[in-house]
């Protein structure tokens, strides 16, 4: 909170009078109040309430939830559904985040070169990031539609069997991941680009003077230089992917069966399809714990390996 303290004029070298101190405190409280209040009302209180709900049975219509103790937790953790959903979440996260970051990095290297029309390409590449996920999902559903969809026609034209991409137990997840990658690559690439331009020229020149070839310059200068950006993108993308909902909702509805149901989607379907608030709250709590753990691990362990200037 150091940065929030009001800077005092340099002339007051003596410790502030008690009155002044209490005024400082009031000012401090006034500054943080809007954030603390909104976060408490809309984040922290619901989180506590959510945890409490996970120990109840509630169909969301009955006036009062019914206390059931650990029932939901035992049921969820011993169900095959939970483990399938957890696996789906991991596949989805690793697939979408990993591939997006690799492609984005490659793209940014390409776009960092001085070529004609690169601004146009940069803008075009960024476009999907500002489109709503549900709209993107609808367009892709059109492209992927069996028989008349562009992709299906191309695939059958190449001799592939007709596939219902969104309704196939094997293909549904890769299809969703593909669309997520398409949506997020542009954004990540632009951030990488900013990172690339922040790497001092002198480092490359020095490396060249030392006789480093292109690959060595990439490994020893570019990669460490990009590591803060890569770290930032990984943390935020993983959190975002844990909460990715719109594209799944529109494209597959979590199906077929539960092939594309991730944790967040399971929270939704328990709550708003099955109207089982207790079980939904249990999944939500698990999801929260998982995200918290991953973020802590990333910040504690991985950030050590990030090279800040």
């Amino acid at each position: 909170m150091q940065s929030l303290r009001v800077p005092r004029p340099e002339t007051t070298l003596t410790p502030p009078a008690p009155r002044e101190r209490s005024r400082d405190l009031l000012l401090f409280l006034a500054f943080i109040a809007p954030n603390v209040i909104t976060l408490s009302v809309f984040s922290y209180w619901p989180m506590i309430r959510n945890l409490w709900l996970s120990f109840t049975y509630w169909d969301m219509i009955a006036p009062e939830p019914l206390w059931v103790g650990l029932d939901n937790w035992i049921e969820v953790l011993t169900s095959a559904t939970f483990w399938t959903v957890l696996r789906n979440t991991l596949v989805f996260t690793v697939g979408s985040v990993g591939i997006t970051i690799l492609i984005a990095m490659a793209l940014s290297l390409l776009l960092n070169q001085k070529r004609r029309g690169r601004n146009l390409v940069r803008a075009a590449m960024f476009a999907p990031a500002i489109l709503p996920g549900s709209a993107i999902a609808l367009v892709w559903t059109f492209l992927l539609a069996p028989y008349y969809g562009l992709i299906s026609q191309a695939a059958t034209g190449l001799g592939m069997p007709m596939t219902r991409w969104q309704n196939d137990p094997v293909w549904a997840m890769p299809t969703v991941i593909l669309v997520v990658i398409w949506k997020s690559t542009g954004y990540d690439a632009v951030i990488f680009l900013a990172g690339l331009q922040g790497i001092p020229r002198e480092l490359y020149e020095a490396a060249r003077v030392d006789g480093a070839n292109a690959w060595q310059r990439f490994v020893n200068v570019t990669v460490p230089g990009l590591s803060p950006v890569a770290f930032f993108l990984t943390v935020t993308s993983i959190l975002a992917s844990f909460q990715a909902f719109d594209i799944i909702r529109v494209m597959t509805g979590g199906g077929p069966v539960i092939a594309t149901t991730t944790l967040i989607y399971q929270v939704y379907s328990e709550a708003f399809v099955g109207f089982n608030a207790g079980r939904a709250a249990t999944y939500a709590t698990i999801l929260f714990g998982l995200m918290l753990a991953i973020t802590v691990v990333q910040i504690r362990m991985v950030e050590k390996r990030v090279t800040y200037e």
Partner: protein, 442 residues
């Protein structure tokens, strides 16, 4: 959900837990007027939540418009809320926020949940005051909403599954111009002939949509049931498994495909046979106009004979309304389910007229003569039955059953395992209902 700063990420992580609480506030923005007290002068204003889109939506708007023009004391505002599921979802949220509408359309699998929670009110006194001729409603449809001697909804958009076929494809395959009499005939005779005659990109039969409703008929045709009246789950019994095997074989044998929306596949001439609601009839006929001829028939019989459930939606009044609003709501429902309106509504949609007088009316009888597909649907109606409690009374029963069917159709899992698991899940999910019924003295 864009989390591009750390603070954003953390607060979003916090927000996540609020999903339930927050979303519970969403979706009812339109119902603000519902809770406002009606002005003492002017008509009683009512908010009515509907669930009909496209041609059905137009027909619904028309019913409301006519009602508003027919009298001056009540004014109904119709608000379209999405599918039956979306409407039920929003209604749940609206009840929490105490911003519910006055009247709502509730489908076969939803009204009971609201009844158990006392969210909808009994209609008997209101019907009496409105002089509604309860004896004129088709008995089976009327009785489905009677609990403990009282009516909690009136049938409005009631439907049954119907067998639809593409007549052009049947002609091409040299088949008679009629629906198959039995599944045996279909699988062994119709399907291979159709497969040989249709385009490679067409297929014989599509499965999709409200699959647990369609399969309700099929499991009966095989002599099984989802459950008995007392919530004993019987879907995993040999007859049920046999019906499941038949479904799985239909995919394996290559004459059936599992799709997202079977009606669309039929309209686009991809699928040449489907089983779908009579409520889709007019939409299908419109889409097929000028492209292909549509034929309809009773559902095929299985080893145990004929089986076909009722379905669709009724209209209910939400609990806790002021007295004048209650009666005004009844006035609208009485109008919407009157023989005159039902005859028109039925012709515009394909839903079954819920009034005997509507079925017998000259208007309807004339209409049937020129529209044989409507006759099929109407003729099948007396042979239909109320659905098993597992689908319509167990919370989420419809979803549990559909997921099970998807495992068989899409994943090709063994029906014996799947249905046993489904039965176990249903048994567990039925517990709160059984408890609530006891509390209500049912």
């Amino acid at each position: 959900m864009n989390l591009r700063t750390r603070r954003g990420a953390l607060s979003a992580a916090g927000l996540l837990g609020t999903g339930i609480a927050l979303a519970a506030c969403g979706g009812d923005s339109a119902s603000g007027g519902a809770s406002a007290p009606a002005a003492s002068s002017g008509p009683v204003k009512l908010v009515y939540w509907g669930a009909f889109a496209a041609n059905l939506g137009k027909a619904q708007e028309e019913v409301v418009k006519q009602f508003n023009e027919s009298q001056k004391t009540v004014s109904v505002e119709h608000q379209f809320q999405g599918s039956y599921e979306e409407l039920a979802n929003k209604l749940t949220a609206a009840l929490q926020a105490k911003q519910s509408p006055d009247i709502a359309v509730l489908s076969d699998v939803w009204w009971y949940k609201f009844y158990l929670n006392k969210a909808i009110q009994p209609l008997d006194d209101l019907m009496k005051a409105e002089k509604v001729d309860t004896k004129d409603y088709v008995d089976s449809l009327f009785n489905e909403y009677v609990q403990g001697g009282k009516s909690y909804a009136l049938p409005f958009a009631r439907s049954t599954p119907l067998f639809y076929y593409n007549k052009d494809a049947y002609k091409k395959a040299g088949l008679p111009d009629r629906a198959p009499k039995t599944w045996d005939e279909f699988a062994k005779d119709f399907a291979p002939k159709l497969k040989g005659a249709i385009d490679p990109k067409q297929f014989v039969f599509a499965n999709g949509g409200y699959s647990a409703w369609i399969f309700q008929g099929v499991i009966w045709q095989f002599g099984g049931a989802y459950s008995d009246k007392d919530f004993k789950m019987t879907i995993g019994d040999p007859k049920g498994v046999q019906a499941g095997e038949f479904y799985r074989d239909s995919i394996k044998a290559g004459w059936s495909q599992s799709v997202k929306n079977d009606t669309d596949e039929f309209k686009q001439m991809n699928a040449v046979n489907i089983i779908n609601s009579t409520g889709s009839l007019v939409g299908i006929l419109d889409a097929a106009k000028g492209k292909f001829e549509v034929g309809t028939g009773f559902l095929p019989e299985g080893p145990a004979g004929f089986g076909c459930p009722t379905g669709g939606a009724g209209v209910a009044i939400l609990s806790g309304l002021a007295k004048e609003k209650q009666q005004a709501s009844m006035q609208y429902i009485a109008f919407a389910t009157s023989p005159k309106v039902q005859a028109v509504w039925s012709q515009q949609t394909g839903y079954m007229p819920v009034r005997k007088a509507a079925i017998e009316s000259k208007e309807m009888q004339d209409f049937i003569k020129t529209n044989p597909n409507f006759k099929t649907a109407l003729d099948q109606l007396p042979k239909t039955k109320f659905q098993d409690s597992a689908r319509v009374f167990v919370p989420n029963g419809d979803q549990i059953l559909s997921k099970g069917l998807e495992r068989i159709l899409v994943n090709q899992e063994a029906p014996s395992t799947v249905f046993k698991e489904v039965a176990d899940t249903l048994t567990k999910e039925a517990e709160p209902v059984i408890k609530a019924r006891k509390a209500l003295g049912a």
